[in-house]
């Protein structure tokens, strides 16, 4: 006797849809699947096995009884859920996954079992590649698929779940691309008789196969005719396998045959008996008629005796007939029950047909829906196209106007009037009230030059999109202009409006500007800065110079502390200025700026030591600076967390520029000098920005220039807080905000900081309008 093993069956079987076998299905389909899994089971002992497309899970469960481990991978979540619930074993697990990207590691299994999966995939090559990937070098694949020529002949209905069936040649050649050694079996379910060689070693030639072909004929073949399936055993190594495999469904076949034979025998017996009875009854009736016609006494007595005898016989036969009729009724009842089952099956089939029809209608509805969407999108496309045409027209007009303005500005700069007004401008910087004179002249000049024609469509689109450019470029933007910009930002939501800003943004950012390779110095003030941080900053500046095409870029530094040793950084090409103690952030930058500009730098970029440049940051800053001819103080955009103060999305005007990464041109330095050294640290950049504004310089935020600045999750120390507030007090005192000064002084007292002597040089009263103390230390409206 061979090995006996238990049947694996779900507590509650999944419904059979035709896509995957469930343990509730019987008959031919069940026999085919069980046979394949039992075959694989013979090769799974002690192995790590992957059952790909494990379906309801019963097959994996058979394998898990002998394997070291089995993973059933299945694409359908309901099937995975069902399998996990019904087939539990420490060596078995089911996971969701796709045969085309198997969720297992490289070389992690010894045996891959894949039955009736290949034909469900378009990407069969991907699948086989994945199988190769997860198989260990000596691993084996057992793979089955229907033979298209036999399973799906042209006249037969197709299996709707099969997307790509293969014929035998296609199957064989595909596998050969992945496995050097393959043995293929063919399979076909049947009722019949097996005749195998008692001694397999004496096998020669294909098996002789006989098949009944209708009532009157048989067919003889060498080998199995019309096999529906092909099963390949694939390996990287030479293979030796059993010559054949049989699955014997004794229980049903034998039982049905036995029952049939019994029923037939019974039926023929009953029929024979019935025929005999009918014959005897006919004879008796005939005899009775004859005796009625000849009432001879002599004859009557024997006749009566015969009649009596016959009547008894008839009664006996009638009784016997009743028993037989009863047996016949039982058989008819059996037939009736079979008919009911048949009708139920037909009803189920009809149910499937109705569901299929409903699904078809549903699909049709989706098609209609997508048609509606397509129509809607087409309409929107047309509208967008019209908007685009309008905008292109506007862009053309603006470009012409801009060119015109540039010509006029160049003409202005080259004009005798401009040169003659030079002393007046310089005087104006010293006497701010007078600055209105040249500014008015310049503004009226520019207004003539660049006033754009706004198409009616855009005029009605809202005020945000296009304002006369000179309004944005005018350097004298009081702080409240920024607040107006914020409201514009909120309104700018539509795609078309956002896109309409692109040309202006590109222009004010100088996106297409060629960098004139000015001499650029990056200045860094260090204070106990970790060496790695400083080296990162310097190397990022060097990368930035290279990306910008700046050949004369330099990095200068001064150490306000005592930690940084020049020998550790000189390989980066930095220039060190001798420190004079901890003089504060602004004062140290002033020393660096003086050195840089005396050395011929056109641009100075102050950079915090705990940050570093995005490779494109320096070029973006220089491009933007060139748009303004050196008259704009430009901050980089801090990363990963921007300062929340607002800036104009079109012109990039902002209330003040942060000193974390700040571009200062020689033009600005010559007019307003460096930072106010009264500020030890913090707020010196706010003060510097307001002074620049008061001197007609623009304050810009370069949204393209990213400078990493480590400000996230910083621990706030009391020392930092005190210095911050002290600088705020200085700023308030200098710019005449009594309210802010009082508020902060109170806070300092609460912190236990005694009042201290401070005498910052106050700015002229006329400049106070440039300051903004309405938003605490943000000094500006903020975005969040």
């Amino acid at each position: 006797m061979g090995e006996i093993f238990e049947r694996e069956e779900a507590k509650v079987a999944l419904g059979f849809t035709g896509e995957r076998l469930t343990s509730d299905v019987r008959g031919q389909v069940e026999m085919e699947h069980l046979h394949r899994y039992f075959f694989a089971r013979a090769f799974a002992r002690g192995k790590d096995v992957l059952d790909i497309a494990s379906g309801e899970g019963y097959g994996s469960a058979y394998l898990a009884k002998v394997a070291r481990s089995v993973v059933g991978v299945e694409i359908n979540p309901e099937s995975v859920a069902h399998a996990s619930e019904n087939y539990s074993s420490s060596s078995l697990r089911f996971i969701l996954g796709d045969a085309r990207t198997i969720p297992l590691l490289d070389e992690s299994v010894d045996l891959v079992v894949s039955f009736e999966t290949l034909e469900h995939l378009y990407e069969q090559e991907d699948f086989l590649s994945e199988v190769k990937r997860v198989l260990r070098p000596n691993g084996v694949l057992i793979l089955s698929t229907p033979d298209r020529d036999i399973y799906s002949p042209i006249v037969a209905p197709v299996n709707k779940y099969h997307v790509k069936e293969l014929d035998r040649n296609e199957f064989t050649s595909m596998i050969a691309n992945y496995f050097p050694y393959t043995i293929e079996y063919i399979q076909r379910p049947m009722l019949g008789s097996a005749m195998l060689l008692a001694d397999q070693s004496k096998a020669a030639g294909a098996p002789l196969v006989f098949e009944r072909r209708g009532e009157g004929h048989f067919e003889a073949n060498a080998g199995l005719p019309r096999p529906l399936y092909r099963i390949a055993y694939c390996s990287n190594n030479p293979i030796k396998l059993p010559s054949s495999s049989l699955y014997i469904e004794t229980s049903l076949v034998d039982l049905s045959d036995h029952l049939l034979r019994e029923a037939r025998a019974e039926l023929s017996l009953v029929s024979a008996k019935l025929a005999g009875i009918e014959k005897e009854r006919d004879e008796a009736l005939l005899l009775q008629n004859t005796s009625d016609k000849a009432p001879d006494e002599n004859q009557r007595s024997p006749a009566n005796r015969d009649i009596l005898s016959l009547t008894e016989k008839i009664n006996d036969l009638t009784t016997s007939n009743g028993a037989l009729t009863e047996q016949r009724d039982i058989l008819e009842h059996l037939c009736q029950r079979l008919k009911v089952e048949l009708n139920e099956a037909v009803a189920k089939a009809n149910g499937f047909a109705i569901e299929a029809e409903a699904a078809r209608k549903d699909a049709a509805r989706h098609v209609e829906l997508s048609d509606d969407l397509r129509r809607e999108l087409t309409t929107r496309c047309k509208q967008t196209e019209m908007e685009r045409a309008n905008l292109l027209h506007t862009v053309e007009i603006l470009s012409d106007a801009a060119k015109n303005a540039e010509i006029r500005v160049n003409a202005l700069y080259g004009s005798t009037t401009w040169r003659l007004m030079g002393p007046l401008r310089r005087l104006g910087r010293r006497l701010p009230r007078l600055t209105n004179i040249p500014r008015r002249i310049l503004r009226s000049f520019l207004a003539r030059a660049v006033e754009p024609v706004v198409p009616p469509a855009l005029q009605t689109a809202g005020p945000a999109s296009l304002q006369p450019i000179q309004g944005k470029e005018t350097p004298q933007l009081p702080p409240h202009t920024i607040e107006q910009s914020e409201s514009l930002a909120v309104k700018r939501k539509s795609d078309s409006l956002r896109k309409s800003l692109a040309p202006a943004q590109a222009r004010w950012l100088g996106v297409r500007r060629r960098i004139e390779t000015p001499s650029v110095s990056v200045g860094v003030v260090t204070y106990n800065t970790p060496m790695a941080e400083f080296r990162r900053l310097v190397s990022s500046a060097n990368v930035g110079f290279a990306e910008a095409g700046v050949r004369s870029g330099k990095v200068l530094y001064i150490d306000n502390g005592t930690e940084l040793i020049y020998d550790d950084v000189c390989d980066l090409g930095v220039t060190q200025l001798k420190g004079i103690g901890n003089v504060g952030f602004g004062a140290a930058h002033n020393l660096l700026m003086r050195e840089a500009f005396n050395d011929g730098a056109a641009v100075y970029i102050a950079a915090n030591p705990d940050g570093f440049f995005h490779p494109d940051a320096i070029s973006a800053l220089l491009q933007m600076s060139s748009v303004y001819g050196g008259t704009a103080l430009i901050e980089a955009s801090q990363f990963p967390v921007e300062h929340p103060k607002i800036f104009d999305e079109e012109t990039f005007d902002t209330a003040w520029a942060s000193g974390a990464c700040l571009l200062i041109t020689k033009e600005i330095y010559e007019v307003i000098g460096g930072f106010d050294p009264a500020f030890f640290m913090y707020c010196e950049d706010v003060d510097y920005s307001w002074r620049a504004k008061a001197n007609d310089f623009a304050i810009k935020h370069c949204a393209r220039a990213k400078f990493f600045h480590a400000v996230t999750n910083r621990k706030d120390s009391m020392e930092v807080r005190r210095r911050f507030i002290e600088s705020g007090v200085l700023l308030a005192t200098k710019w005449g905000s009594v309210e802010f000064e009082t508020e902060l002084t109170k806070e300092l007292l609460l912190m236990g900081v005694p009042s201290w002597e401070r005498h910052p040089a106050p700015v002229p009263r006329s400049w106070r309008g440039y300051a903004n103390f309405q938003h605490s230390f943000s000094f500006s409206e903020t975005r969040w």
Binding site: S370, R498, P615
Partner: protein
């Protein structure tokens, strides 16, 4: 570049060359990470040879900065699935060789201390996965820059049970310790193009003990774009196809909750002193009022 004891692999998936500016931003945030050794795996979705060359050229200057991480670029070349977002992650995982594993989408960023904090947490609390907080930044996308309009904190969960009930952890909010998570769990389901990261996390957090103590400390930002190009469910995502896909993903996640068993270790970490065999995530959520100790 391989350091299984201390290193971290970060997988960045990228599918469209025209969005290179956003990828550069994500990479810049990784260059700025304090933690080393760090390997960046940029996984591309079917890029042409020319685009791969261009992309490498564009990224090269970032890696010329001193002490930059190591970069590897991998290209997913199969035709299917069309939307290969999960396959890209799986490709990256297959190439990752370090002890710690993290993910970042090309259009999001991390703060410089993110991996420092999370890995310290993993080691000190001896767990398999640690989560941090993420801020949401609403942005208008322009061709040259992103305009951050506002920031908020919509990701409001606090602990494992909150997470199993609803996802509040974006793909860049966590780090996995591979010494504590079996490799068989480390994959994204390729059938999913919505909620695939949540599906991954449900499987992992049901199996290994997790740490949520840093969810109130922000480690990075998730950018919600006003042009609707995020793949999350937004008001704008109302096309019938999108709704169907989201519904399908929701069903999938619920199926995941129904079939995924919560390991005894995780149950114990939640205060269940006698773990229940076969307890699923759904079962745990349904019984959570009975739990003694929230994680």
């Amino acid at each position: 570049m391989f350091d299984f004891d201390r290193g971290i692999d970060v997988i960045v998936r990228f599918h469209d060359y025209s969005k290179l500016r956003e990828l550069e931003k994500a990479i810049f945030s990784l260059i700025a990470q304090n933690y080393r050794p760090l390997n960046i795996h940029v996984c591309l979705q079917r890029f042409s040879v020319e685009d791969i060359v261009k992309l490498k050229e564009r990224l090269a200057p970032f890696f010329a900065i001193e002490n930059s991480p190591h970069l590897e670029v991998h290209n997913f070349e199969y035709e299917h699935p069309l939307d290969a977002r999960s396959s890209l992650v799986n490709l990256g995982i297959a190439r990752a060789r370090s002890r710690f594993l993290a993910f970042l989408d090309y259009d999001d960023i991390l703060y410089p201390e993110a991996y420092d904090f999370l890995i310290n947490r993993l080691i000190s609390s001896n767990v398999g996965i640690a989560f941090g907080g993420i801020q949401l930044a609403m942005i208008d996308k322009y061709s040259e820059f992103d305009f951050v309009k506002e920031k908020s904190q919509p990701f409001v969960g606090l602990n494992l049970l909150d997470f199993m009930a609803e996802n509040f952890c974006p793909i860049h909010s966590f780090v996995v310790d591979r010494t504590k998570v079996i490799d068989g769990l480390l994959f994204f389901d390729t059938n999913m193009n919505r909620n695939e990261d949540y599906d991954f996390l449900l499987r992992v957090t049901a199996e290994v003990v997790s740490d949520f103590s840093l969810v109130k400390t922000f480690m990075g930002e998730y950018f919600l774009k006003s042009d609707g190009s995020n793949t999350i469910l937004t008001i704008s995502a109302t096309s019938s196809q999108s709704v169907i896909e989201w519904k399908r993903a929701e069903n999938f996640i619920e199926a995941r909750r129904n079939i995924t068993r919560v390991s005894p270790a995780v149950q114990r970490s939640l205060g269940i002193s006698s773990p229940v065999e076969g307890l699923t995530i759904r079962g745990l959520l349904d019984a959570k009022s009975l739990l003694l100790k929230p994680n």
